[in-house]
C-alpha cells in the first residue's frame, strides 16, 4: 500500500500543481478583452436551449437572449466570440451538441469573408474557453497560424508561462468571475450614433474562399443529421461592409439548399433599428435598445417558422430564466448609473 502511495502521491501532486499553475497564468479576461470569457461561460447554461446562435460580435452584441425569453418564452444561447471564424463556430456547435440538441441553429454569415486563420489572439478567445474535447483539438488544428503549436491549446501554460512577470490580483482568482454575458449576449447601454460611415472600397474578388464554403456545408450537414433547423442571418451593422456580391452568394446557397436566410439589413423599417440611437459604436454593433428591437422582430420570425415552445408557462424553466432576467435588469441599471456618473461606459458592471 505504501509503495503504491509513493508512486501515486507524487504523480497526483505534480498534476495538481501543474493545473493550479496553469490556472494562474492563463489570462482571465477580467479587466481587458473581457469577451475572452464568453466561450467558457456557456457550460454553466448548457442544456435546454431551443435556439443556438453562432457567430462573431455581430451576434453576441446584437441578439438579446433575455428579450427573446421575455417576449416569446424562447430559450436560447449565443456561442460567439470576437472575430469568430466559421470553423470556430462549427466546432463550438459540435461541442454544444455534447450537452444539448437545439431545435434551431442561427449562424451569422459575416464570418464567410474569412477563409484562412487570421490571428492567434482571436483563436485564443474562441478556443481556450472550450472544455477539452475532440472538437476543441480539431478547432485548434484548423485555426492555428504558422507560429502556433497545438500543444499550447492542450496545456495553455506552455503559451502563457511568461505572464509570470505581469500577473496581478485577478489572476489569483482561479475559480471564475462574475458572469459577463446573458446566455451569450453582451450588454451595452451606451449610444454613439453612426455618422460619416465611409464608402466601402470595391474588392478585387468577392468570392468566398473554399474553406468557408466547406464549413458552411459541414454546419448544414451537422444540423440535418441532428434534426436541427439551420438558419442563416446577416446581423444588422453598417460597418464593416456587407457587399451585395456576398449577399447574392449566400442567397443562392440558401435557395439551393432550402435553408432560411434573413439579411436583417433589408428589414431596417420592420426591425425599427435607428442607427442614431441603437448603436454604441457608430454602426458596428447594436446597443441594448437596438438588440432588444432586433430580438423582438427576429423572435417573432422564429416563432412563425419553427415549432418553438413557450417556456414561460413551465415553472421549472421559468424559474431559471427569471433569475437570468433579474441579472439582466440589474446590469442594465448598473450600466445606466455608470453612464450617468462617469459620462462613459468604462465597465460592464
Amino acid at each position: 500500500m505504501k509503495r503504491i502511495l509513493r508512486i501515486i502521491l507524487p504523480l497526483f501532486l505534480f498534476a495538481s500543481s501543474f493545473w493550479v499553475l496553469q490556472c494562474i497564468v492563463v489570462p482571465k479576461y477580467v479587466s481587458e478583452n473581457v469577451e475572452g470569457r464568453l466561450v467558457a461561460e456557456y457550460y454553466d447554461s448548457a442544456g435546454g436551449n431551443e435556439v443556438m446562435f453562432l457567430g462573431d460580435c455581430e451576434v453576441y452584441s446584437n441578439f438579446s437572449t433575455v428579450r427573446l425569453w421575455v417576449e416569446y418564452g424562447i430559450t436560447s444561447y449565443i456561442r460567439g466570440s470576437p472575430q469568430q471564424l466559421i470553423w470556430h463556430s462549427y466546432y463550438l456547435l459540435e461541442d454544444a451538441l455534447r450537452y444539448e440538441t437545439p431545435k434551431v441553429v442561427v449562424f451569422n454569415v459575416l464570418a464567410m469573408k474569412y477563409g484562412k486563420p487570421q490571428n492567434e489572439a482571436y483563436n485564443r478567445l474562441a478556443i481556450d474557453g472550450m472544455r477539452f474535447s475532440k472538437s476543441k483539438i480539431e478547432s485548434a488544428i484548423n485555426s492555428m497560424t504558422d507560429e502556433e503549436e497545438l500543444v499550447t491549446y492542450i496545456f495553455p501554460i506552455l503559451r502563457f508561462h511568461s505572464r509570470w512577470s505581469e500577473l496581478c490580483f485577478e489572476d489569483l482568482n482561479i475559480f471564475g468571475t462574475q458572469r459577463l454575458s446573458h446566455n451569450g449576449y453582451v450588454m451595452r447601454v451606451d449610444t454613439k450614433p453612426a455618422m460619416n460611415v465611409p464608402t466601402p472600397p470595391p474588392l478585387a474578388d468577392y468570392s468566398f474562399e473554399d474553406k468557408a464554403w466547406e464549413y458552411l456545408d459541414k454546419m448544414a450537414e451537422l444540423c440535418i443529421s441532428n434534426g436541427i433547423e439551420f438558419v442563416l442571418v446577416k446581423s444588422p451593422s453598417i460597418h464593416p461592409a456587407w457587399y451585395p456580391e456576398w449577399d447574392t452568394q449566400i442567397k443562392e446557397y440558401a435557395d439551393k439548399n432550402g435553408i432560411m436566410y434573413v439579411n436583417t439589413l433589408e428589414f431596417q423599417r420592420e426591425t425599427g433599428i435607428d442607427y442614431e440611437k441603437d448603436t454604441y459604436d457608430a454602426g458596428m454593433h447594436l446597443n441594448l435598445s437596438g438588440a432588444e428591437k432586433l430580438s423582438v422582430w427576429f423572435g417573432a420570425l422564429l416563432k412563425e417558422h419553427f415549432d418553438l415552445h413557450d417556456y414561460r408557462y413551465s415553472q421549472e424553466v421559468a424559474k431559471v430564466w427569471h433569475d437570468k432576467w433579474a441579472y439582466y435588469t440589474w446590469m442594465k441599471a448598473v450600466q445606466e448609473k455608470i453612464l450617468l456618473d462617469d459620462g462613459t461606459l468604462n465597465r460592464y458592471y
Partner: protein
C-alpha cells in the same frame, strides 16, 4: 517525507513551466491584430498629396498633420483588442489608419473620384492602356484587376469596361 515530495514536485512544475518551453516567449499576449515593426519602407509606387508621401505602415500623425484638415472622420473599434480603425475623408480620397501599441499607422489610401490621381497620372476613369503604360508591372495582367505587390504596399487598380473604377494603396500587414 511528504513535505519533501511536495516541494520537489512543486519545484519541478515551476521549472517546467517557466523554462521548459520556448514557444511563446517573444509573443505578444495582448493580441494586437496587426503585427509590424512600425518601420515604414519606401515603395516604388506610393500616393502623394500636396507634396506629402503617404507611405503605408508609416506613423499616421505627421502625415495627417502635413496633408491638412479632413472633411469627415469615422472611427470603428476593434471587436476586442487594441485601438480604433480610423477613416479620414479628404476631397477625392480616404485615408484609413490602424493602431499598434497605442500609435496610429497608415493602413490604406482609397481614391474615391477622378479629382485625384496617382503620381503616375492614373485616376478613376483612366483606361487600361494608360494604366499599363504608367505601371510596367500591370502589363502582366489582363484585368479587370491589377495588383502590384511591393514590399509594404499593394497598389490595387480595379477596372470595369477597360476603365479604372477604383484605386487603392493597401498596407501589407501580415
Amino acid at each position: 517525507m511528504i513535505r519533501r515530495i511536495v516541494l520537489t514536485m512543486f519545484s519541478l512544475v515551476l521549472v517546467l513551466s517557466i523554462a521548459g518551453c520556448s514557444s511563446g516567449d517573444s509573443k505578444d499576449h495582448s493580441g494586437s491584430q496587426i503585427q509590424n515593426t512600425g518601420e515604414a519602407q519606401a515603395d516604388k509606387y506610393e500616393f502623394v498629396y500636396k507634396g506629402t508621401t503617404i507611405t503605408m505602415k508609416a506613423k499616421a500623425g505627421p502625415i495627417l498633420e502635413a496633408i491638412g484638415e479632413h472633411n469627415a472622420y469615422y472611427e470603428a473599434p476593434s471587436c476586442a483588442f487594441e485601438g480604433l480603425d480610423k477613416t479620414y475623408s479628404y476631397s477625392g480620397f480616404d485615408v484609413v489608419t490602424y493602431t499598434l501599441n497605442g500609435v496610429d499607422y497608415i493602413n490604406s489610401v482609397v481614391l474615391m473620384d477622378d479629382t485625384i490621381s496617382t503620381p503616375e497620372g492614373i485616376a478613376i476613369g483612366s483606361n487600361v492602356e494608360a494604366i499599363k503604360s504608367a505601371y510596367e508591372e500591370a502589363s502582366a495582367y489582363s484585368g479587370p484587376s491589377y495588383t502590384i505587390e511591393q514590399k509594404d504596399t499593394i497598389l490595387l487598380i480595379l477596372t470595369d469596361n477597360a476603365v479604372a473604377t477604383s484605386i487603392q494603396y493597401i498596407a501589407i500587414t501580415e
